[in-house]
């Protein structure tokens, strides 16, 4: 009896020790992707070194992009790692200002006031810079049987998402889609039920370009439709009912085989592609000073340029211009350099838009200036 008991306990200890002994591994050797580097990668040498393990935290919208950057960073500088904790923009800014992480990721630039004061303090009395490194297009995804191509403008989109336009064959939609046959079907608006930067940006876009008066923020304010949890829920919902429409990150629209509406900002219908989204980034004006590359989002959303897809979610890396210790500065610079160059090449796969050349140069100049 006694032996049996000990045996049972010992067996358990042994079994669990075995399970938890260091047989786990973080090593998922990256396969492909990083080798097919193109010209602009070669032109920028990466100075590896400094701290081997960087910490960053913030927006979940750029999580997949940062994953790609980390992969490229590890390929360029063997033995380094970066932990990106996608706990939300607010947490990213808070923990960057508290000095908990080396840089923060955020869906919006630091707000003037407490946020900038705190960040200046964190950077040892140097300003923090907002570097827009990751751009994700937001698709207006829909599913209407028989309608493969749909053109919308900001005003009509705003009308749909606020319930003013209720039917697919509404004159407002018809006017934009001359030839298409639109069914007499109710429009089912689907929105994000959780708080999300996508909702925030979508509403800001509508506000700038479509006369949206419902307000912005991370909660959907349209007052119409049905909310589903996360992008996955939203995309799945649209995929399963005829007549549904939503706004969702491009990758989700693609993976759920949703049709994506073209956007007409006044110079003809623009399809969402890497090029058209890149064009919009090129059109963007910078309102920050010097290397603080704060975007004037109105210039993107309100862009009337032909061939530019204006509905983009821009996310920033928030870094110190000066004030890092030498090791950290070196590693942060190396990471951001990789992120702005080789790292960008995998972004299209992950549903983001690679930075256009001119914009990339601005970022690289800023990264170089970090000391």
């Amino acid at each position: 009896m006694k032996i049996q008991r000990h045996g049972a306990v010992l067996g358990l200890v042994a079994a669990s020790a075995l399970l938890l002994s260091a047989c786990g591994s973080d090593n998922n050797a990256p396969t492909g992707g990083t080798n097919n580097t193109t010209s602009n990668a070669a032109s920028v040498p990466v100075e590896c070194g400094g701290k081997t393990k960087l910490n960053a935290e913030g927006s979940s919208a750029q999580k997949n992009a940062v994953d790609a950057f980390v992969q490229a960073y590890q390929a360029a500088c063997p033995g380094v790692d970066l932990a990106y904790n996608p706990s939300g923009s607010g947490a990213g800014v808070k923990n960057f200002n508290a000095g908990q992480v080396d840089f923060g990721g955020s869906d919006s630039a630091l707000k003037e006031g407490a946020e900038t004061t705190d960040s200046t303090k964190r950077c040892k009395e140097n300003p923090a810079w907002n570097l827009p490194l990751v751009f994700g297009p937001v698709a207006v995804g829909y599913k209407v049987s028989g309608v493969d191509s749909l053109v919308l403008d900001a005003k009509t989109t705003a009308a749909i998402f606020s319930g003013a336009v209720k039917k697919w064959n509404d004159p407002a939609i018809k006017a934009l889609n001359g030839s298409a046959t639109l069914p007499d079907k109710d429009i089912a608006v689907i929105y994000r039920s959780d708080e999300s930067g996508t909702t925030d940006n979508f509403q800001k876009y509508l506000k700038v370009a479509g006369g949206w008066t419902k307000g912005d923020g991370k909660q959907f304010k349209g007052g119409v439709g049905e909310g589903k949890e996360k992008s996955a829920g939203v995309a799945q919902a649209v995929g399963s009912i005829d007549g549904a429409i939503t706004y969702v990150e491009w990758s989700f629209a693609q993976d759920n085989k949703l049709s994506v509406a073209k956007i007409d900002s006044g110079a003809g219908a623009v399809e969402l592609t890497a090029e058209t989204a890149g064009k919009a980034i090129d059109e963007a004006k910078i309102k920050g000073e010097g290397n603080n590359l704060v975007l004037d989002l109105d210039s993107i959303y309100g862009s009337k340029a032909a061939g530019a897809y204006p509905l983009l979610l821009a996310t920033y890396e928030i870094v110190c211009s000066k004030g890092y210790d030498a090791d950290t500065a070196k590693a942060v610079k190396a990471f951001l350099t990789v992120a702005a160059t080789t790292g960008q090449q995998q972004l299209a796969d992950a549903g983001y838009v690679p930075l256009p050349k001119a914009f990339q140069d601005k970022i690289l100049t800023a990264v170089k200036a970090i000391a």
């Binding site: 049996q4 008991r5 045996g7 049972a8 306990v9 358990l12 669990s16 399970l19 938890l20 047989c23 786990g24 591994s25 973080d26 090593n27 998922n28 990256p30 396969t31 992707g33 935290e57 979940s60 999580k63 997949n64 994953d67 790609a68 980390v70 992969q71 590890q74 790692d81 932990a83 904790n85 996608p86 706990s87 908990q100 949890e229 996360k230 992008s231 996955a232 829920g233 995309a235 990758s251 989700f252 693609q254 993976d255 759920n256 995998q346 796969d349 992950a350 549903g351």
Partner: protein, 304 residues
């Protein structure tokens, strides 16, 4: 049972104990049908859910890498990697939770059964255990959030998750242990006292061992409940795709959190990871249940 022996038509015979009236028979048949029906109705969704999990998740966990690797450095779209980091997190968070909860839970149960009697404290303790039983996991998580994160300013960590889980585990342990201690015959205790053995030794050496198998089963059920809890990890932990052995600092994955996280991944790889993590969790918990059966058989002073 004996009901079928009676022939309801032959009412003329003088009452003997085999006579069962028609209405009683109908009631009995109806009840039997209802009970069977309830069981059959219930078994459908239960089997259905299990089938869904197995069908979608089983192929994923057959890969050896699944049990040994983390998701570190993998893009959303890339296949491969494993759930080691999340398995580790789930086990460690559950373990720490159990280390804290089991002694507390058992002591409370002992207090209630052996010491408390009908005192005011015992009554309020029972009441509070009942209340705690009903506390939803999200409230437990919010409580730890308000204490740990907003009041003490500590970061999100695996330990915070464990603390929230303690709130969920303690009442379950108290309840099962209490029930088990109650059915230990008083004769055993009295015999022990009669031999001059102190009360605490009686409890530790006579009462608990007698109830041990039941207590263990309760602990395993409680563990099963807390390991699958999603709400606390949602509020209190941040996901890390890599292995973090440090309980006190930094983001740590767990299987439920991994599933929540992979919901942000629209690709086939994400789909596989979600269901892979789901079946892994079910497998882990099944293992614990099996172990509990084995241990309680080995430890039980008398077998039923």
């Amino acid at each position: 049972m004996s009901t079928n022996l009676a022939d309801p038509q032959r009412l003329a015979t003088p009452p003997t104990f085999q006579k069962v009236s028609t209405s009683r028979q109908i009631k009995n048949g109806l009840a039997t049908a209802l009970v069977w029906g309830a069981f059959l109705i219930a078994i459908i969704p239960l089997v259905w859910v299990l089938y869904t999990v197995i069908q979608r998740g089983f192929p994923v966990i057959l890969d050896g890498d699944w049990w040994q690797k983390s998701m570190s450095g993998l893009l959303a779209r890339q296949q491969g990697g494993g759930a080691y980091h999340a398995i580790y997190g789930t086990l460690v968070q559950g373990l720490v939770c159990a280390v804290i909860s089991v002694p507390i839970g058992i002591m409370i149960a002992i207090y209630l059964v052996e010491y408390g009697g009908r005192s005011k404290l015992a009554k309020s303790t029972t009441f509070m255990v009942d209340i705690l039983t009903g506390v939803p996991s999200i409230v437990a998580a919010l409580f730890v959030y308000t204490v740990w994160i907003t009041t003490f300013g500590l970061g999100r960590s695996a330990l915070a998750v464990s603390l929230a889980l303690v709130l969920l585990m303690v009442p379950v342990i108290v309840r099962t242990t209490e029930e088990m201690l109650k059915i230990v015959p008083d004769e055993l205790r009295e015999a022990s006292y009669a031999l001059g053995i102190p009360k605490w030794k009686t409890i530790v050496k006579i009462v608990i061992p007698t109830a041990l198998s039941g207590i263990l089963t309760g602990i395993m059920l409680a563990l099963a409940r807390v390991m699958g809890e999603t709400a606390p990890v949602l509020v209190l932990a941040a996901y890390a795709p890599f292995i973090n052995y440090n309980l006190f600092d930094g983001p740590m994955a767990s299987l439920p959190l991994m599933m929540v996280n992979e919901r942000n991944n629209p690709t086939q790889a994400g789909f596989e990871r979600i269901w892979g993590a789901a079946i892994t969790l079910v497998v882990l918990i099944t293992l614990f249940n099996l172990l509990a059966t084995v241990i309680s058989r080995a430890l039980a002073p008398k077998t039923k």
